[in-house]
Symmetry: C2
Subunit: 189 residues, 2 copies
């Protein structure tokens, strides 16, 4: 569809990130919904694990949780299937100029490595709010950094050189599978 | 290891199901832990989705959920990776002589079909407490039943003929991947 350039411009501006920041989780959910509805992939965010303490039953059908606590997740937040392959990733946001390693649990890194060893595809998606940019970094390149560096955070420069910039667009919002295509499903020439 | 027959017998009896029933979820979690610890597969139960309404913060670190409700899951309960393949299933228990179709959400069946269409492995595990037996039924065979029958439940007989009996044992408790091996990874002779 073609719009007069003015309308098109406004429209693009509306959906672009601005300094107010983005909703990474919401946009990833919309992206995954797009993938599902177009039969591209089936990838979901796992629910947050909750430890239940008290549950009331005000009616036969309805249960009301009155005391519960957040638990540490055992795995990453997102997983599913794409082109027959098992996909697994964690998505994080950082306000600084580097990605602090403490932002991701060590057991989540271990999990991504297990997935890689078992023949799956594992990665992290990091949104640098300061620069309004989103990068995908494979678990292989993540390991390369932690093996060769003693730093407590991965600088944006490392993402630029060893990761992949994901361009934000209207639909799908965060088209990370395009990157996965380029890395893992590129046709040999 | 060899035990005197008497001891062996008692031991076997202790770990076998009896009429008090079993803990399907707990035993599947232990099974998945066995698979993980032995580098066989990485399969997890997804947390139950909760809709949060009120959360108190009595201290800086601790969040206390004081009002929340259970939500209907979007997908099945279990997924992960085995031999490079994406695995997805739902586990249910029934006290009767057949498995009521209403025990599984229609969107969960749709989800298992999506997984199958995308090249993954989808199935259900049903524990018949009355008969103390556990069956695995592939989504393909599940569809075959619902396509050719108007019944509102799948009789045990159908599981016996078209499904696979999973023998309960000490470790792993419910070795469903042995069945998956037989169905999908059998070496051609």
């Amino acid at each position: 569809m073609r719009y007069p350039s003015g309308i098109n411009k406004n429209y693009t501006k509306e959906i672009k990130y601005d300094n107010r920041g983005m909703n990474l989780e919401g946009d990833l959910n919309l992206t995954n919904l797009y993938y599902l509805n177009n039969n591209i992939a089936s990838i979901y965010k796992k629910p947050t694990p909750i430890k239940l303490v008290k549950v009331d039953y005000p009616s036969r059908k309805e249960a009301k949780i009155t005391e519960a606590y957040f638990m540490t997740p055992s795995t990453t937040d997102y997983n599913g299937i794409y082109k027959g392959k098992y996909i697994d990733f964690e998505a994080k946001e950082t306000a600084g100029t580097s990605f602090p390693l403490e932002n991701i649990h060590s057991h989540q890194i271990k999990h991504l490595n297990t997935i890689y060893d078992m023949g799956g595809i594992g990665f992290i998606i990091v949104y640098f709010s300061k620069y309004n940019s989103i990068y995908l970094l494979t678990i292989e390149k993540f390991n390369e950094f932690t093996t060769n560096n003693k730093r407590k955070s991965i600088p944006l420069e490392y993402f630029k050189k060893n990761g992949y910039l994901i361009n934000y667009k209207y639909n799908p919002r965060i088209d990370y599978l395009k990157i996965i295509d380029d890395i893992y499903f590129k046709e040999e020439v």
